[in-house]
């Protein structure tokens, strides 16, 4: 089989892993070396594929042979699909040559499990070790840890990788039992907490000895599949919250379930639940950057996120007693909780109001989305819109949204300018 065919099979097999970040590393170039991951603190997207997802790393499986038979997975043992395996040389060659041409930020290497977890893990390590040592490669490497692999191997991997991740995939133990009979939750969570401890202790070590090798400097991430099993959004968010607070994960990725296999155990979906995935990401942002707790966003009487409105607006509507907020006085924390005010506009409000009182036109200039914020704020004591009724505000917001969608449908071909992303 030629390299092109292998690449086609093994990148296609890896594409259901949604993580693409190349951020957070501090790896500098070395004399005579290739690559540098320290100048790109934010991560860099090199392209966008036809599904609108960012392409940052060469994302491949080492092999798509697998001893497991996970029901949701395209690479399950019992599927009759073309199989292939790379050699370490092929992976390093592709990585180096793609990197030299600035196609990619680095390598994302995962794998099906062959023989046993240790054997597979050793192959992956041999590959990235060669990249680091023989090729002096200092680009980004994201390595998947194979659940069940020996702790010593995980430790070794961390010294070559910029980010390690173990995929939880199914958000609950029951889900895992049902769809991934070969895996157990403990084999997933144990390496996660080991990596977390190791990252923490490595940071301490680096404070004392500057020359100490970094252990997974880009942190740790994981992925949850959404919609293959019946967990609620609340369950998922609570899990994420725990992963952020207790295991100090850098990112949790949510992957809308794409039904690649036919199986009576799997739900029948017309399309992947992309809107649900989108709302989960919004809620995830609220957890990480906006100071929300999972229990504030959802509660057992309302365990799913709203399809029509974003989670922050829904929270504000449920907590109208906390509003209106006076933008000239409120602190950063409270400003962040106002629908239509993001991190950037909250910061700009704080710094601008030292120069004088802010009115509604000033807020607009700063970048506050007045369509949403107007129901929740006062400026110097005056309202723009005084509605103290949850249902009425909701109706108004939905009407605005519909109008915007109609307008967008008409205008899109003319107006493709991208908004500035927050960098």
């Amino acid at each position: 089989m030629d390299l092109q065919e292998k690449l086609s099979i093994l990148s296609s097999a890896a594409k259901y892993d949604v993580s693409c970040a190349s951020s957070g590393s501090n790896r500098k170039n070395t004399p005579g070396g290739l690559g540098d991951s320290s100048t790109a603190a934010m991560g860099i997207c090199h392209s966008w594929s036809a599904d609108g997802r960012c392409v940052s790393l060469l994302k491949i499986l080492y092999t798509n042979y697998c001893i497991h038979d996970c029901v949701y997975c395209i690479n399950r043992r019992s599927n009759d699909i073309p199989r292939a395996s790379f050699t370490p040389e092929e992976v390093t060659d592709l990585t180096i040559n793609f990197y030299r041409r600035n196609y990619i930020e680095g390598l994302f290497l995962s794998s099906g499990v062959i023989k046993n977890p240790d054997y597979t893990m050793e192959l992956l390590i041999r590959t990235i070790k060669s990249l680091r040592q023989e090729y002096k490669f200092n680009g980004y490497i994201h390595l998947k840890v194979i659940p069940g692999a020996d702790r010593g191997l995980v430790r070794e991997a961390g010294f070559y990788a910029d980010r390690l991740s173990v995929n939880i995939e199914l958000p609950s133990e029951q889900g895992l039992k049902l769809l991934a009979p070969g895996k157990d939750r403990k084999a997933i969570l144990t390496p996660m907490s080991y990596i977390s401890d190791k990252i923490a202790s490595n940071k301490e070590e680096k404070k004392k000895f500057k020359s100490a090798m970094s252990f997974s400097p880009g942190g740790q991430s994981t992925q949850l599949i959404v919609g293959a099993t019946p967990e609620s959004d609340l369950q998922i968010l609570r899990l994420s919250e725990g992963l952020y607070n207790k295991v100090r994960l850098r990112r949790v990725y949510y992957s809308a379930f794409v039904p690649v296999n036919n199986n009576p155990l799997l739900p029948v979906l017309k399309a992947p639940p992309l809107q649900r995935e989108h709302r989960l990401y919004q809620a995830d942002w609220l957890l990480r950057f906006y100071g929300f707790a999972a229990n504030e966003i959802l509660d057992p009487t309302l365990p799913f996120l709203d399809d029509d409105l974003d989670p922050k607006t829904v929270w504000a509507l449920r907590n109208l007693q906390l509003f209106p907020v006076e933008v000239n006085k409120a602190d950063y924390r409270m400003l962040l909780r106002v629908p239509g005010i993001g991190q950037q506009s909250a910061r700009k409000i704080i710094s601008s109001r030292r120069w004088g009182r802010l009115g509604f036109s000033e807020l607009k200039k700063i970048g506050v989305v007045m369509k949403r914020a107007r129901y929740f704020i006062t400026c110097g004591g005056s309202f723009l819109e005084m509605i103290d009724n949850k249902e009425m505000i909701r109706t108004r917001l939905l009407k605005d949204k519909k109008k915007k969608e109609q307008l967008a449908a008409q205008q899109l071909p003319l107006n493709f300018e991208t908004r500035l992303v927050q960098s």
């Binding site: 390299l3 092109q4 690449l7 086609s8 990148s11 890896a14 594409k15 259901y16 500098k28 170039n29 005579g32 070396g33 290739l34 690559g35 540098d36 320290s38 100048t39 790109a40 934010m42 860099i44 997207c45 090199h46 392209s47 966008w48 594929s49 036809a50 599904d51 609108g52 997802r53 392409v55 060469l58 994302k59 592709l94 040559n97 793609f98 030299r100 041409r101 600035n102 196609y103 680009g139 809308a256 794409v258 399309a271 992947p272 992309l274 710094s351 601008s352 120069w355 004088g356 802010l358 000033e362 200039k365 700063i366 899109l412 493709f416 300018e417 991208t418 500035l420 992303v421 960098s423």
Partner: protein
């Protein structure tokens, strides 16, 4: 009313700004020679670049502005969108109030300067990703770009750090500028024209300039680019939003064909 016309260089602009700070008449606009459009109602004044004056102003600005604010002004200059007059207002204000004004986003001038600088910074960030090298004549990595703003100089540190060990040439085709890194240091060149062979290459014609190896990896990359998209999630609109079509020309992946 006056229009200041300077030679287009950064020092030229600083000289014009310096003159502007002390001018008694009202200054309608400041424009580079290239961008200058004569007006019926204003008289033009040619500003001769004066390195001493330019240096003086630069020092005063570095003393009185925050690091970010100073950087913003340079980025506005590089945007080539006629921001010079606004920069003058900004400087006047900053020197008058003796307080760091860059936090006052409500002020029209500060807001415009910040916004423009951000656009430039964002394009730099984009090109860290969108730039594509092709290996030509055996050992030179060549990348054509056509950015909206004059960002070539801002791209250098990033690429110098990661490709310290290979020779490369980044070519701003719109401005005929080049940054050539010879393995040791980087040289800026002006008036860059391509030879026929390379010109043909960029039109998609196979020439001797590129070896088989180059085609091999480019095809592999295209194979990869096509196979990672998930059919069930296909969303060309979203793709185009992140990667506007004007950038596609100099990418080596065939964005429109998958």
């Amino acid at each position: 009313m006056l229009i200041y016309v300077y030679d287009g260089s950064l020092e030229g602009m600083f000289t014009a700004l310096y003159e502007g700070l002390f001018a008694k008449e009202e200054i309608e606009s400041i424009a580079s020679r290239e961008k200058y459009a004569p007006s019926l109602f204003a008289t033009e004044k040619i500003i001769e670049t004066d390195l001493k004056k330019a240096g003086k102003l630069k020092h005063a600005l570095q003393r009185n502005l925050s690091k970010q604010a100073f950087k913003n002004l340079i980025y506005c200059y590089l945007s080539e969108t006629g921001m010079e007059r606004r920069i003058l207002s900004y400087i006047k204000m900053a020197l008058a109030v003796k307080r760091k004004i860059d936090g006052n986003f409500v002020n029209e001038t500060v807001n415009e300067i910040t916004k423009t600088a951000r656009k430039v910074a964002y394009e730099v960030h984009r090109f860290h990703g969108f730039l594509r090298f092709r290996r030509i004549y055996d050992d030179l990595y060549y990348a054509p770009i056509e950015p909206d703003y004059n960002i070539l100089a801002l791209l250098i540190p990033h690429f110098k750090a990661r490709y310290a060990n290979q020779k490369w040439f980044i070519h701003d085709r719109r401005r005929k500028l080049g940054a050539y890194y010879d393995g040791w240091e980087c040289h800026l060149v002006t008036g860059v024209e391509l030879n026929k062979e390379l010109e043909a290459l960029l039109q998609g014609i196979k020439t001797e300039a590129e070896g088989e190896e180059e085609l091999f990896y480019r095809e592999l990359w295209n194979e990869y680019f096509a196979s990672i998209a998930i059919e069930e999630r296909k969303n060309k609109k979203l793709q185009r939003q992140h990667m506007p079509a004007r950038y596609w020309k100099n990418l080596v992946e065939r964005v429109d064909q998958v």
